[in-house]
Symmetry: C2
Subunit: 336 residues, 2 copies
């Protein structure tokens, strides 16, 4: 099975996901045009709602948890409502689940979305694994008050506390290393120029290949926010919104990608994936691996996202050769 996703974040780019789908279609087309017979059936998969939490691939992997479909997506409706709106039948979701062992191998080509390949001038990234992602909804409660009449010393400013929280996340995550931490969402109530903010709703997202590191980071952030709150009379609450452990790519597929890339004259490096991918859902269904093509300047989830056409072609060629290699020598069950 080869493929990727076609959905996008708001104001995202044109390469994230789509490049892997187009490459998979090109590989299938090339095999058909060259009348190549494979030992295994080849499937091309196009995932839906990867950006909203790998919803499509988790459904078929049987990895959906209670309440996942009730979460409100960035479109403003729940996943449940979105599926119905697109003509899906919620009563048949269970029947969509694939049995473990269904796939002899799953292989996904994707843009790196980070700067490491581009910075080092390399052509193909052999993915080691996909980081775990934990996310929380954060609510900071202070006291809404008049911006002119309330002395600085009398304020319980929720936005001031939130600002210290954003700074603390950056500092704590940098000090730990081998992880990233992001506050991407933050809204202020009531949000008028002449009113001291009484409430802030924000997000927290932590990613690492090492799950224990994520736990340690969150503990430190919680401890520091308690101190921030105590200092200006505000309170913090954290509600877990997403938790997904890291997924490692199987060594047999990593080796096949590396060998085929080098046979084609491509330069390679072993890289972690900081982004989540449908491949991690597919790890529950069979051996999984990924390869990356470079992202210019590491820019992604942005209209400035770019991978040059020649780099995409190189990736598709490695994908084709790796499919042929894995078809001839599929990963053993133990490697899973």
């Amino acid at each position: 099975m080869i493929g990727s996703h076609i959905d996008s974040v708001p104001a995202g780019g044109r390469y994230d996901g789509t490049v892997g789908v187009m490459a998979a279609i090109e590989v299938a087309d090339a095999l058909q045009q060259s009348r190549t017979a494979l030992r295994h059936p080849l499937e091309v998969v196009i995932w839906m709602n990867e950006e909203g939490g790998l919803i499509g691939s988790r459904i078929v992997a049987g990895e959906l948890r209670d309440g996942d479909l009730d979460a409100v997506a960035v479109s403003g409706v729940t996943h449940r409502e979105g599926i119905v709106r697109l003509g899906g039948d919620l009563t048949r979701i269970e029947s969509a689940v694939w049995a473990p062992g269904r796939n002899a191998a799953y292989l996904e080509l994707h843009i790196e979305q980070g700067a490491s390949l581009d910075r080092d001038g390399l052509e193909i990234g052999v993915v080691e694994g996909i980081v775990g992602i934990y996310a929380w909804d954060v609510v900071i409660t202070g006291e809404q008050n008049h911006a002119g009449a309330t002395a600085m010393v009398d304020r319980k400013d929720a936005l001031l506390a939130a600002s210290r929280y954003v700074g603390a996340v950056d500092r704590i995550v940098r000090a730990e290393g081998q992880a990233v931490g992001t506050v991407g969402r933050l809204s202020v109530a009531p949000g008028a120029r002449n009113v001291i903010p009484g409430r802030v709703e924000a997000s927290l997202e932590l990613r690492s290949l090492d799950e224990a590191r994520i736990t340690r980071l969150f503990d430190t952030i919680q401890r520091e926010t308690a101190e921030i709150g105590a200092a200006n009379g505000t309170t913090f609450s954290f509600t877990l919104a997403q938790s997904r452990g890291p997924s490692m790519c199987v060594p047999a597929i990593r080796d096949a990608v590396r060998t085929q890339a080098r046979a084609l004259g491509r330069t390679t490096n072993d890289v972690p994936s900081g982004a989540g991918h449908d491949a991690q859902s597919m790890a529950h269904v069979g051996p999984m691996g990924m390869l990356f093509v470079p992202s210019v300047a590491g820019i992604s989830h942005s209209p400035w996202e770019l991978t040059h056409p020649a780099q995409i072609t190189q990736g598709a060629e490695v994908l084709l050769q790796t499919v042929l290699s894995l078809d001839a020598n599929p990963p053993s069950a133990e490697s899973r």
Copy 2:
């Protein structure tokens, strides 16, 4: 002329403005019921859109500036559109302007909105003057990017820069003293949990009885934000959105309020007004003064705003006696 305003901030309280309007109506009613003849005509005024920048009182004071009516109010439409929607005739705005000297005296009762009277257990605040208010729209530009794939060191996070700005405003204003500074509005784009913010729009508001202090504070804030931006690859821009110098209450009215309050057995203190008031527009039309009743815990611009009924009654009694006193001994032209 006595009165106040009846509009409110979003999610505001029930006392800000309304208390002064009700007290003025009660004073007029008491004078009529007691068949008291005054030397001067008494007018009760009910201002509109005080919270949006003293729009109503500035129109009659001739203090409207080019572009003021084109600003977008918190309702989402411009003041110009709002006036038309309410049945106003924009072509006749000029004819609404009052000549300087029209008012023998303007006196406004208002809730303090700060904690000083309540904290000290005092009943009436004799207002010294109204602070100047300067406000800016602030735009912080970074680089939108993928929250998983972008290393901490490669980020140009607009929200991280914005957070440092919010902290700097608090620190700089506290260090200066005799002023307040607030960031009440802050919105993040694109605002998704898994995207590094590329752009933040925020506000800045500075208030002080000393205009030079406001200028000094803004210079320091601009200098520090330039450093904040240089440190993480973001840029700040400030656009002046509001500027109004401080207004002092005339000594003759301050003395009359203090004398009448004490004659009624009330405890008093001289206090500055950290909030803006229509009285400062009226300073252009004649002698102006204000008196405050306490705000419980200093809470205002909030549903928790409270002034006890007995405190409002005390304020209305002082307002009545001060009207009688000023009618007998109006402030001289020189005191203006």
